[in-house]
């Protein structure tokens, strides 16, 4: 029998970049699932939510009225919030990998699941910083929701480990970062420049840093930074830059699933897997498996899917996935990778490290 999963993704608009990567990871997951599952087949129906909440809500309603069994959410807490609310009203399971706000899980929705959260990112960055033991950190953060959340969290937690923190917020419209970096250079004189932002901002910030050469020891960022793509697009900006990552590059995945994912992905899209597609792959896989289990138990129609989701407990490329009462995945942790001559080496936490960190290490 065939099940339909509905997905709303920001294929156009400000989040289009993330939407595309998400869609790719998800498609690969479904493809792999269908290959190995003889009984149940899954089909995804994707609707562009145009990076806006109202259209995401409409998309969810349309997907459900088209017979979707469950919904895979797009990107951004602002959009996932209302969309998952709508999905809950319709009694459909909703899973996302692109919304980290704590408010989402505080709503007490029974159908809402996510595999990553702000706490995980924060932990990842904290671990690295505790290992590096800098005296001071300058945080340059976009005023967008997720980056700001992370920055605020770090601003609170890092001083507890004796690290001095200065935060510089910037409006996403800004393109010239030299004045900010100059403040880091002349006023903060920090050991580490931490960026909580998105790709276009990273490029601008690192470029400004490369021009002004502040006396920092490392440049650290978060999502979508330690990716092979960033290195191939901007080779002379990325050397030694650190960012969150799950997999080293070239991919050395130990487990079968990871290898298969990398292969199919490369085959389908002609490129290496990326941070966002990995997240999306895992969430889609988890959902597919839960659907299969519920189908076996015959409880898909009677609302058993949410229970099956809650029973999920498996290892994945992202580590262990097990949802708590609120639908969150408290085990979500990640590693920090460093660009080293076109490779991405996992350097933190120590346990996962695939190589030694270059520290101090800068792109210039």
């Amino acid at each position: 029998d065939e099940f339909v999963i509905g997905a709303h993704m920001p294929l156009t608009g400000s989040l289009a970049r993330s939407g595309q990567a998400f869609t790719e990871g998800m498609q690969v997951a479904v493809k792999i699932f269908n290959e190995k599952s003889p009984k149940h087949k899954i089909r995804v129906e994707v609707i562009d939510d145009e990076s806006t909440p109202a259209k995401a809500v409409t998309a969810v309603e349309k997907l459900v009225s088209n017979g979707a069994t469950a919904i895979i959410g797009g990107y951004g807490s602002n959009i996932v919030g209302p969309a998952s609310g709508a999905s809950d009203k319709l009694g459909k399971v909703y899973i996302t990998a692109g919304a980290v706000s704590d408010e989402l899980t505080a709503r007490g929705l029974k159908t809402f699941f996510r595999i990553n959260n702000n706490a995980g990112y924060q932990r990842g960055v904290e671990t690295l910083l505790q290992e590096l033991k800098p005296q001071s950190v300058s945080i340059v953060t976009s005023t967008k929701e997720a980056p700001l959340l992370l920055a605020k969290g770090l601003e609170e937690s890092l001083p507890k480990s004796g690290i001095k923190v200065t935060v510089h917020q910037f409006d996403p419209a800004i393109t010239d970062f030299k004045p900010i970096i100059n403040k880091v250079k002349l006023q903060d004189r920090s050991d580490i420049l931490f960026m909580s932002a998105y790709e276009n901002d990273y490029v601008g910030i690192i470029r400004a840093a490369k021009v002004l050469k502040p006396n920092v020891k490392a440049i650290v960022g978060t999502w979508s930074l330690a990716t092979p793509k960033m290195y191939s697009d901007f080779p002379d900006l990325m050397q030694n830059v650190l960012g969150t990552s799950f997999l080293p590059f070239p991919v050395e995945v130990k487990d079968e699933e990871g290898r298969r994912f990398a292969d199919v992905y490369k085959e389908t899209y002609g490129k290496e897997i990326e941070y966002l597609s990995t997240l999306s792959f895992v969430k889609a896989m988890v959902l597919c498996e839960a659907i299969a289990r519920a189908a076996d138990a015959g409880t898909v129609k009677s609302g058993g899917l949410a229970d099956e989701m809650r029973k999920t407990d498996r290892a994945s490329l992202l580590g262990r996935i097990k949802f708590d009462e609120t639908g969150d995945n408290p085990n979500f942790t990640l590693s920090m990778g460093q660009h080293q001559n076109g490779k991405i080496v996992l350097v933190s936490p120590k346990a996962n490290a695939t190589g030694a960190i270059t520290y101090p290490g800068l792109p210039w």
Binding site: A16, R17, H168, F170
Partner: protein, 290 residues
């Protein structure tokens, strides 16, 4: 502190000169035809993507893309012009919708062709720093600054002194009177549009070398350019330059002296203040009489 402010001023001037470059084409079509080309930002973006194509495919310096960018923007600019020229009623308002529509089409076409990845030059030479004392800038910024100045001077001369330039201004002032002077308004407007497209291509390549582009930024570019144009006052080239620098410097100083999150706010407040105290922009003269 002094160093900070100095750096902010220089950054402001450099970024301002690019704002000016982006705004010039818009100011020209606005001044010449009273038509606000809402697709101007997309035209600039198109040129930037041409630079990307050339750099990524051939490994050449992005400036080598200027001929290709010229062709692309002029072709699209021509198409826009002929569409606008077909509007028969309420030209000012309808051209707004028409060019907006073209902007949507271009944005989405770029999205389809180039996906939504962030693009910018990877050439190390262009990103290298030059410094004067404690003030730093990228090579590409200096080049863009120079190009901007040169183009502005040429354009200023062209509008003020050449017969075509005079024709452009007269058509915008009074279409039928200009016909009586022996000016073909359609041709004149077309030329103005072409020149605007040429300016857009330079602006696009400059943008690609010093900043990042994404399909969605076209609209923001238009708005920025438009704000500069209005700040300047209709049809004033020196006005565009001053307004753009003023905006750039205000933004940079806000980041340095206050919070970077307020940069956008400061620009807008500046814009409103200028408008309230000089309702026709910094350099706009306007005859009103009973």
């Amino acid at each position: 502190m002094f160093d900070l402010i100095l750096q902010a001023l220089s950054s402001g001037v450099l970024i301002g000169s690019v704002y000016a470059l982006i705004a010039l084409g818009l100011a020209l079509t606005f001044g010449a035809m009273r038509i606000i080309n809402l697709a101007h930002g997309e035209l600039v973006l198109l040129a930037a993507y041409m630079a990307y194509v050339v750099e990524a495919r051939t490994g050449l310096n992005p400036y080598a893309a200027i001929p290709l960018a010229l062709v692309a923007t002029c072709v699209v600019g021509t198409a826009i012009y002929f569409l606008v020229d077909r509007i028969r009623e309420h030209r000012e308002l309808n051209s707004l919708i028409l060019t907006f529509a073209v902007g949507i089409i271009l944005t989405n076409a770029i999205l389809l062709f180039f996906a939504s990845d962030v693009r910018s030059t990877s050439s190390p030479v262009l990103q290298d720093a030059v410094s004067v004392g404690n003030v730093f800038a990228m090579n590409s910024e200096i080049i863009a600054f120079a190009v901007s100045l040169i183009l502005m001077a040429i354009l200023w001369w062209w509008l003020k002194r050449s017969w075509y330039g005079r024709a452009v201004r007269s058509v915008s002032s009074n279409r039928s009177a200009s016909m009586l002077m022996g000016i073909d308004p359609t041709r004149t407007e077309f030329i103005a549009f072409l020149v605007a497209s040429i300016l857009a291509s330079f602006a696009g390549v400059a943008l690609y070398t010093m900043s990042v582009v994404q399909p969605a930024v076209g609209h923001a570019l238009t708005v920025k350019a438009f704000i500069v144009t209005v700040l300047a006052g209709v049809g004033s080239i020196p006005g565009v330059f001053c307004a753009a620098l003023l905006l750039g410097i205000t933004e940079a100083l806000t980041v340095t002296l206050a919070s970077s999150a307020l940069q956008e706010l400061a620009g807008m407040v500046l814009f409103l203040l200028v408008l309230f105290f000089m309702p026709n922009g910094l350099f706009g003269a306007h005859a009103r009489r009973g």
